[in-house]
C-alpha cells in the first residue's frame, strides 16, 4: 500500500495539534458532505449528517489504528454516522426542494461548454429522488463508488462486506437508478437489457471506457 498522504496530519492531530486536525478535517470535508448529501437526499439532512459524521471522525480518531488508509476509515465512519443519523430520524430520506437554505440551487446554471443552460436543479433532484428509492445498502455502495470514487476493495472495507457483494450491490443499485431516472426527454435511444434508460436525466450516454485501476478484479 502506498504511503497514506494523511499520515503526517493524522499523527499531528492525534498529538493535539489543532491546526493539523483542522487541515485534516478540511481536506475531507467536501467528500464527506457529498457522501452524506447523497445518502440523505436533501441539503438540510445532509448538512446535519455531515456534522455528525465529522464529530464521529474526531471522536474516533484516537482509535484509528492505521491498518487502512485514513480516507477509507473516514468513509467508513462517515457512512455509518450518516446512516445512523438518518435511521435516528426514523424515516426514509426526503428529497428537498430548493429554497433559501440552499443558495446553490437558486436557479439553472449555464453550461460551461456552450450556450445551452443545464437545469442543474432538476437534474440533482432527479438523482436525489432516484437514490432515495434505493435501500441504504445499495445507495451507499453506489455513492461510494460513483461519487467518492472508492474502488471495490475500499468499499468492501467501508461497508464490511466481501468485494463480490460490493460488485453486486453497485450493479443492482445502478440498474435500479437507470430504471428510476427514466428516459431523457427527446432521447430516442432504445432501452438496454434489464429495462433501463440508456441515458441519465437530460444527458446523452457518456463514455464507456473503463477508468484505469478503478476497481479490483474478482
Amino acid at each position: 500500500m502506498a504511503a497514506d498522504p494523511d499520515e503526517a496530519l493524522v499523527d499531528a492531530a492525534r498529538g493535539g495539534d489543532r491546526a493539523a486536525l483542522d487541515a485534516l478535517l478540511r481536506r475531507h470535508h467536501d467528500r464527506i458532505h457529498g457522501l452524506c448529501r447523497r445518502l440523505a437526499g436533501n441539503e438540510a439532512d445532509g448538512l446535519d449528517a455531515t456534522q455528525e459524521a465529522l464529530i464521529a471522525v474526531v471522536r474516533g480518531l484516537p482509535r484509528f489504528d492505521g491498518r487502512s488508509r485514513f480516507s477509507t476509515w473516514v468513509h467508513r465512519v462517515a457512512t455509518n454516522a450518516c446512516l445512523d443519523e438518518l435511521r435516528r430520524r426514523g424515516r426514509r430520506p426526503v428529497v428537498g426542494l430548493p429554497d433559501e437554505r440552499d443558495p446553490f440551487e437558486a436557479g439553472p446554471l449555464p453550461d460551461p461548454r456552450g450556450e445551452v443552460p443545464i437545469d442543474r436543479i432538476g437534474e440533482r433532484m432527479a438523482v436525489d429522488a432516484a437514490l432515495v428509492q434505493l435501500s441504504p445498502e445499495l445507495r451507499a455502495a453506489v455513492v461510494l463508488r460513483d461519487l467518492c470514487e472508492l474502488d471495490y476493495a475500499e468499499i468492501a472495507e467501508v461497508l464490511d462486506v466481501p468485494p463480490g457483494t460490493v460488485r453486486s450491490r453497485i450493479s443492482r443499485g445502478r440498474a435500479q437508478l437507470a430504471r428510476l431516472l427514466g428516459p431523457a426527454p427527446g432521447d430516442a435511444t432504445s432501452g438496454p437489457p434489464g429495462g433501463g434508460n440508456p441515458a441519465g436525466p437530460g444527458r446523452r450516454p457518456t463514455t464507456t471506457t473503463p477508468p484505469p485501476a478503478a476497481g479490483t478484479t474478482p
Binding site: 486536525l21 437508478l177 437507470a178
Partner: protein, 281 residues
Amino acid sequence: MTDAPLPPDAADELASAHLDGAATDAERAQIEADGSLQARVQALAAVRAAVRTPVPVDDARREAALAAALAAAEEPGGVLAPAGSSTTAPVVPLAARWRSAGRDRRLRYLAVAAAVAVVALAVPVLDRLGTEDDEADTASVALDAEASAPAARDGAEESGMDDAAGGSAGAPTPEALMADDLGPFDELAALTAALREQPELADDEYAAPTTTGGAEAMTSTTLAACDGQLTLPADTDVLFDATATLEGTPVVVVVHRLPGGEPQLLVAAVDGCATLVDQPL
C-alpha cells in the same frame, strides 16, 4: 461463451463491472462481442455521471461544521482536550455525585435553610414591634443576606418576590435564595475570576453557598435537567456548584477536584447539558 442472452441481472453486473474496470478479460471480450451489453454499459455510465453531479458546499456551513468538530475534539477525552482532563477515570452521573456529596454537606444545607427560615419569620415579627433598635437589627440581618446573595436578590426583585416576603424590602425569601446564580459573564476568564473569589473556593474547602436555600438547591429544576447527562470521576469532590450566563448562554457551573488534584472547572449548557468547558480552574 454462449449466444443466449444473459439474464438482466447478470447483464447489469457484467456491464457495471466493466464500467468500473473490474471485469475479467473474458468478461470484457463478452461485452465487446455483444451490442446489447455495450448499450447497457452506456446506460450505467449515464447513471454514474448523474450520481457524480457535483454537490456544492456553502463556505459558511463548511466552517460551521468544522468548528463543531473541533469543539468536539476539545471535549474531555478528545484529541484536543486540555492536558490533565481525565480520559480513563471512572465516571458517575453528576447528579449522582451531588447526591453522594456527604452527610456533612447535607447538614450544612439544612443549617442554612433553617437560618433563612428564621430570617423570614423574624422580619414581620420585628416589624410589628416597631422599635428603632429592632428595625436596625432586622436591616442588619437582611443586608447580610443581601451581601452574600446579590444574584439571588436580583432574581427575587425580577419575580416580585419581595412582595411575598411580608413587605420587608431587601429581605430575600427562601425561594429566591434557592437559586445560586453567578450572573452574566461576557467571557470565560471573567467567570473564572469570579469563581476564584468565591469564599468556598478560596478556603479550598467546600462549604454550601450561604445563599442557597437548602437541600432543594441540589435538585432544582435547572440542575435536575442534566441528571445523568453530566459526569464526573467517581472519586471527585464537588467544591462549588451554581448557575450562570456565559456569553448569553445559561450554564451550570461546577468546580470539582480529584483527590490530591487541582480544582477543575466544568461548565455545561443548561439547554442540552452539553459540556462547554472542562479545564483546571
